[in-house]
């Protein structure tokens, strides 16, 4: 769809994760969803200490282990091998979801299939009757974590907008998303609807608007940046 060189245009997966990482405050307890959200951990700015929670029973998750040091009994929620940092702890599933449901986790970064302008999130099912429904911990996370961020491509592979007036897919949670990091922009969910607070390199507001399923607001930050 775009005719410019993709390398200079928008954000790639790493850049989206890096941009999201800027918004994770020092000292936060954070749960990262499977996929691009996992990359956020690599980009936490120097000087910030962030503790990662994985819902299968570990607080203080570290990076992937070296090849020879994989323990099949030390994994994350995506069932990938991880490590534990000094000061980490293991616990059982009910205690782990006490952290989630009890609003002890500060930030959760998730992927999305659709986000509505009210902040509704759909990320677990297409509703296709032939698909095997699978929800995992997504509904618990959006119901319990204080701040929900979404990292997602702005459109589907077939070019359909993922940011929509109202989700057509079954919901994961209603009015739960605070902010979206797409390949094109950073967008807040506000009482007035989606508000673009930052544009990716060389991306225009109109370009984003054309690829969004509902009306976008231009944030004060955009106006300031234009000055």
């Amino acid at each position: 769809m775009s005719i410019v060189n993709r390398q200079d245009f928008g954000w790639n997966r790493e850049a989206m994760a890096k941009r999201a990482a800027l918004d994770i405050p020092d000292g936060s307890y954070v749960n990262l969803g499977i996929g691009i959200p996992e990359l956020v951990a690599q980009f936490v700015p120097e000087g910030r200490e962030v503790i990662y929670h994985t819902e299968n029973g570990l607080l203080g998750m570290g990076p992937a282990p070296a090849e020879g040091e994989i323990d099949p009994e030390l994994i994350n929620a995506g069932k990938k091998a991880v490590t534990v940092i000094p000061g980490g702890s293991y616990f059982h599933h009910a205690d782990s979801f006490t952290m989630i449901r009890g609003q002890h986790i500060d930030v959760c970064v998730l992927g999305a299939m659709q986000v509505s302008e009210q902040g509704d999130l759909a990320n677990w099912s297409t509703g296709d009757p032939d698909a095997i429904p699978a929800v995992g911990g997504a509904m618990d996370l959006v119901a319990g974590v204080k701040t929900i961020y979404v990292i997602t491509q702005h459109c589907t592979k077939t070019g359909e907008p993922k940011l929509v007036e109202s989700c057509s897919y079954p919901l994961t949670g209603k009015a739960v998303v605070s902010r979206i990091y797409s390949d094109l922009a950073v967008i807040d969910v506000t009482p007035g609807g989606f508000e673009v607070v930052e544009l990716a390199p060389r991306v225009s507001f109109n370009y984003v608007q054309k690829r969004t399923g509902c009306k976008l607001l231009a944030g004060q930050q955009l106006a300031d940046a234009a000055k």
Binding site: T54, G57, L74, I75, A94, R101, M139, G144, G173, K174
Partner: protein, 238 residues
Amino acid sequence: MIDKRIDSLIDAVADIFDGATVMIGGFGEAGSPIELIHALIDQGAKNLTVVNNNTGSGHVGLAALIENGQVCKMICSYPRTVSSKVFPELYRSGKIELELVPQGTLAERIRAGGAGIPAFYTATSVNTPLAEGKEQRTFDGRDYVMEYGLKADFSLIKCERADRYGNLTYNKTARNFAPIMATAAATTIVQTGYLVEVGAIDPEVVVTPGIFVDRVITIAEPAQESKLVAEGRIYPCR
């Protein structure tokens, strides 16, 4: 004398009856009591309702139990697996029932079952299709659904260390559902990597106190599910 040790896998699972509800520990392969599951396949009990976060991988362990036609219903949060088509095929052909439960609700329902709590309220799943048919109620201005405690006839779990009283400790994230499943079953059957003397586990670090455990069998070198799957192994061998 209290001695929960049992010598053979056959004896460990002998009384699991047709139609039983069986909780099986593990999150993916971490904590999966694969030898106990294979013993249950050998034993042959049918029409089981199985509670596990997933539906297994390849053609071993939980996937093999399902493939063997012993499971009529799965209660789980994430029945999709990259490495197994066993559940999806049975599900699509209507041969197995699925009760899909959000992972945290599943954990809390198991804990509630073990703690004598028949029902509780949670905000998880409100305004989603999984709340359909559930009682809703508002507390302090927020909506919640009512969920029921979940109990089982048997729990099959894996631990790291055990003593003859049934005190258990676990290894890393293999702990996951095991401690709560141990509380929620009429009979809890444990496979342990190490059997230690009574008193060898510091009372401060026991994770599952023996009161929740009925049988302990030592499996010193448990099979690693992902290795079996990578090798294309099928259980039982055919």
